[in-house]
């Protein structure tokens, strides 16, 4: 509770944020290229992006919530719900795909609204509120499917994760998932930089009381952030289902990865600082790290340890940088 409200929200320095996440990513990707030189080929880079796309999109959504000072732990469950619901509702009928996609987004928006309303009006801290919806949504998804995959996803749905256009000019191949990714990032960027929403989100995250006094609609800002996050989770679910098909654990553990990605990219937890590039390059860095550890053939378990250590170091380094700047 800062005694003197700062009315002017802190503007992030977009250049700096871009540099931090980008540098980590470039270093990690260079390391990948050393271990496995053909990752420098455009085809494999596109494949890397295709596989990173779900986490990237999820991180962009999570960033909205983090900017406003909250967390969204329900996204993994929402992604799982999207996969299971798609498979049950479409049930192998390609004509149903588009209508079902609409339904999935409606479900996502509903979960986002619940999260936002509970946080904004019932005053439940977001970490608890979204923990609750995580349990709830996961339980609903499992109860609906009976605990195991059901139904079937037709090819036009699977294309979101599998279709790759070959012989594309300049880049060689282009996966549909990468197109979806670019579209989503562009919209998310526009939302924060092309509208008034970005400033409001930063203001709310920095100091909600001050933002309110300055006339910012705090509750609406919060609720929109959760809705955006849920929409990103549904999109992630669609890509995951497309990539590898139906499973009951499609979104498991993604929520913490998305939060970690934003933080590695330089976004500040509890709000006030960050840009869409924090999410993008943070997620790319994290995914490059996973890929690198895989390629190096380390035992699976130690990969967790290294991930943990990197997380601490990345955040520690950001802290240290910021302190020096002050």
């Amino acid at each position: 509770m800062t005694p003197i409200p700062q009315v002017a929200p802190l503007r992030p320095s977009p250049k700096l944020a871009l540099n931090a996440g980008l540098v980590i990513f470039v270093v990690l990707y260079a390391a990948i290229a050393v271990v496995q030189p053909n990752y420098l080929e455009p085809g494999l880079f596109m494949n890397f992006l295709r596989r990173a796309a779900p986490l990237l999109i999820l991180a962009c959504g999570q960033l909205y919530v983090i900017l406003t000072g909250g967390f969204d732990l329900s996204v993994g469950a929402v992604a799982t719900l999207a996969v299971l619901a798609a498979s049950i509702l479409i049930n192998g009928d390609p004509d149903a795909t588009w209508a079902v996609l609409g339904t999935l987004y409606l479900m996502g928006i509903a979960v986002g609204l619940v999260n936002g309303l509970v946080v904004a009006f019932l005053k439940v801290p977001s970490i608890i509120a979204t923990l609750g919806t995580m349990l709830l949504v996961n339980g609903l998804a499992l109860a609906w499917s009976g605990g195991a995959a059901r139904g079937d996803l037709p090819e036009n749905f699977r294309n979101f994760g599998r279709l790759v256009w070959r012989d594309v000019w300049l880049i060689g191949s282009l996966p549909l998932a990468v197109v979806v990714l670019c579209g989503f990032v562009a919209i998310a960027w526009w939302g924060l930089n092309g509208t008034v929403y970005g400033k409001r989100a930063l203001a709310v995250g920095d100091n909600p009381r001050a933002a309110e006094l300055a006339g910012t609609p705090v509750a609406a800002t919060r609720i929109i952030a959760f809705v955006v996050s849920s929409i990103s989770a549904v999109t992630t679910g669609i890509l995951l289902g497309g990539f590898s098909g139906v499973s009951v654990n499609a979104g498991e553990g993604l929520e913490l990865q998305a939060i970690a990605a934003c933080v590695v990219g330089g976004a500040q937890l509890l709000g006030g600082r960050g840009s869409i590039w924090s999410a993008v390059f943070g997620a790319l860095s994290l995914f490059a790290l996973f890929t690198l550890l895989n390629l190096m053939g380390l035992p699976q378990a130690l990969r967790d340890s290294i991930q943990g250590a990197i997380l601490i170091v990345a955040v520690g380094a950001t802290m240290w940088r910021n302190r020096r700047r002050i």
Partner: protein, 376 residues
Amino acid sequence: MKLKIILAASVALACTGEALAQNFNDPAEFKKQREQLSMKPQGPEGKPWAQHLGDGMVDTAKYKKDGPVTLCFSNAGVFNPWRVVGLNNLNAEAELHKDRIKELVVVDAEGKDEKQISDIEALVSGGRCDALIVSPNTTAALTPAVEAACGKLPVIVFDRGVNTQCPVTYIHPVGGYGFGITSGEFIASKLAKGDNVLALRIMPGVDVLETRYSAAKTIFDEAGINVIGSEFTGSDRAKTKSIVEDYINRGEKIEAIWMDAGDTATAALEAFEDAGLPYPVISGEDQQDFLRKWQSEKLTAVGPSYPTYQWRTAIIAALDVLDGKQVPGPEWVLPQPAITEDVLAEFVDERMPPLHYSLCGCQELPGYPERWGGKK
């Protein structure tokens, strides 16, 4: 500084841990299960869930109880499709015996050892149960609770065991070595010396899974087949597909895929499709999606099983015990068939969901196929 201390301590721990690693490669058990695989089962023809291997029987006259009975079942959880199918089997089997079973109480431990212990204690102290069926979450952890329950009522354990002889009988199929032998020998027979096989496994440290791998590895080593990698998928389809893609991208030649469970087999195969490569030789399991793909793409494949029909056997055993009949024991070893090219068509059922386990022995049970998520 402090981090250094912790790291040093961790490394120290890691070293001692290595030395005390449990041995999942027991040649005697390997040999025993290999023999059991070819043994002729005793019991009713065509009903593998009521059959058994070997001769041991236990007398249960002292547990005889007339009239309607209450059966209690402490379930480790329904955290994977295998257990989902199994629980449906168990419930359906109980429905067959409506006249004898007054009530079937099922409590779910959600995969938590500690909760399962409390659940068992509550069932026993509740005093309603005439017999207790336990599917333990972990072998060692559940031993004391099962021991305590044995003193009060007849206990039947299935799937994973417990470290005590006190239950009336312990029901299980041949076992992990058997699974690894069936799949390993098939792949070895299709590959040439020096060929590469990629092993995809769910997770480390689970006895029933580790033994599957150790048996297959023994066979691969003997046949001179090269295991180029052993990776853990966590039953995650996306992860499975990514792992296989990574191996393909590295330029590794993969002649065969060996899996310790088949639930992500189709995801592994998709990686080959997406890369435009021919399908490898593969060992999966008895899941519908894998069998359908096998049939439609004419794969060179085998489907070993860890049959879910053992969940039926648990109810049958409990009722036999309360009838005072002799039951196979102290271990009731069920046959563990594998699906091969010849019998594939019998097991494909388009009505069933993708992860339905075909060796459920449930086709004649009430509510088939809807109870298992199938279409009429």
